[in-house]
Amino acid sequence: MDAILKVSGLAKTFVLRQPRDTVIEVLRDISFAVFPGECLVLSGPSGTGKSTLLRILYGNYLASGGSIRLRQETGWIELAGADPRCVLAARRHTLGYVSQFLRVIPRVTALDVIMEPALLRGYAKEVAQAKAEALLVRLDIPEKLWSLAPGTFSGGEQQRINIARSFMVFWPVLLLDEPTASLDGKNRQIVLELIEEAKAAGSAIVGIFHDAHARDAVASRLLYMKDEKERAHVT
């Protein structure tokens, strides 16, 4: 099968003017491809740029150099340097992203947060709601919380809302930044099952998992990111 994401020669250097001039070279010459149905795990010590790489793939950080090609229904597009509309369209249809923390929006209920990606894709409201409720049950969120805004939820509950949201629709490419970090053993297991199901459905997953058990359970391949500016390589 053809790859869905091809990264080549990717580089990222932060040039900070505040509070004083600082240049941080984080990524250099990173190349890899990801195929539908597999999970590529980014591993390596803290600070080597794993989250940075994921954010660049999502268009949240700008690449300093290199190319990120994404295969969409309509053909290949170049994400590095793409204009905002193009990135937003890719995010709506192709690129899913689970951050470590939920960004809470005042007054928006847990159920609405979860349903949103489906509604944006045009699901009927009842269909979206049924699916969201099934995920909430599966992730063990008490029903009395469903219609509250998640601002007051615990860290683990917020993270599960975040996860439910991301597994509402099929993502051709799914980016996961430590999705199991603040979860207990039982919930972690459920998330690993969701990831396996997404793989089986044909998602290409790029993920970061600090927990070795989770990593071993879902990884198809590892991209090891070394310290001291040594080049990353795929094993």
């Binding site: 949240n60 700008l62 905002p84 045009g122 051709p172 459905a201």
Partner: protein
């Protein structure tokens, strides 16, 4: 509108999907085209060298320090302040309208029907001495609506949209709280079904809990009615919540523009870095 499935994969989701809202030809064509607009009151006071394109359904945020020229630019874009040079063009169906080359009548008609303007101070955008219902009905009457029952029905519907108790329909905004006035101003603007709405610090004078409610409301209305919005705000959290993309202004010029979360999380220009780092967290 052609029907197609977004997810061409064997999983369960694809059968359930209905077509996404029209991303057809209409959405792919620009709504507003701004070319090298300049309006200066003094050196670097006002706006200059501004060019950009706005598409249907896009929310564009304008951020920057006080005095950087945000309001000046907004006035120029919205037909209220002629530029010293440059051009603002609006697409009305198949026609491109050059805003300041068009006659005063055409420009005013546009402002009353297809455009809206939400002022920071609701007093400037409302008629304070007439009822809430009449405030909402005004644009419709200007468009020729005369049927009293229908105007009232419409006013009631819009009061509901902006979460104002229907019982207040005959009260004047003078008796409303700041947050209610702002919501009424929003209803008054949106009732005519505008395609493009300008907003200058729409939550500026309100306290935080009231702000959250208005932001949530705006967020939903923008989606529901597929509005294009140009929004001036100095509050980066507001920008994060509402805007698809941002333009950062400093001393009359756009110094950086891009996807909202990218600008806020990975700012490139030293001034944007300062702006983002000087607040706690957005």
């Amino acid at each position: 509108m052609n029907v197609r499935l977004r997810d061409a994969q064997p999983g369960a989701a694809s059968q359930l999907e209905v077509p996404a809202r029209a991303l057809s030809g209409e959405k792919a064509r620009p709504l507003l085209q701004v070319d090298d607009v300049c309006r200066l009151f003094g050196p670097e006071q006002g706006c200059q060298e501004v060019s950009f394109t706005l598409y249907p359904g896009e929310v564009l945020g304008l951020v920057g320090e006080s005095g950087s020229g945000k309001s000046t630019l907004l006035s120029t874009l919205s037909g209220r302040l002629p530029p010293d040079r440059g051009r603002v063009r609006y697409r009305d169906g198949a026609d491109w309208l050059d805003l300041y080359a068009a006659g005063e009548g055409r420009r005013r008609a546009l402002l009353r029907t297809q455009w809206g303007f939400v002022e920071q101070n609701p007093r400037d955008g409302l008629r304070m001495s007439v009822s809430a219902g009449a405030n909402i009905g005004e644009r419709l009457m200007a468009q020729g609506a005369r049927h009293y029952g229908r105007l009232r029905q419409c006013a009631l519907e819009w009061l509901r949209h902006v979460e104002i108790d229907a019982a207040r329909i005959d009260d004047t905004p003078e008796t409303f709280s700041g947050g209610m006035r702002q919501r009424l101003q929003i209803a008054r603007n949106l009732v005519s079904g505008p395609r493009l709405v300008f907003m200058d610090e729409p939550t500026g004078g309100l306290d935080v809990s009231v702000q959250a409610r208005i932001l949530d409301l705006l967020r939903n209305l923008v989606r529901e009615f597929d509005l294009s919005v140009i929004l001036v705000t100095h509050d980066l959290a507001v920008a994060r919540l509402l805007a698809d993309r941002l333009m950062v202004m400093r001393r009359s010029r756009i110094v950086e523009s891009g996807l909202t979360d990218q600008i806020l999380d990975d700012p490139q220009h030293p001034y944007t870095q300062l702006l983002v780092s000087s607040i706690l967290q957005v």
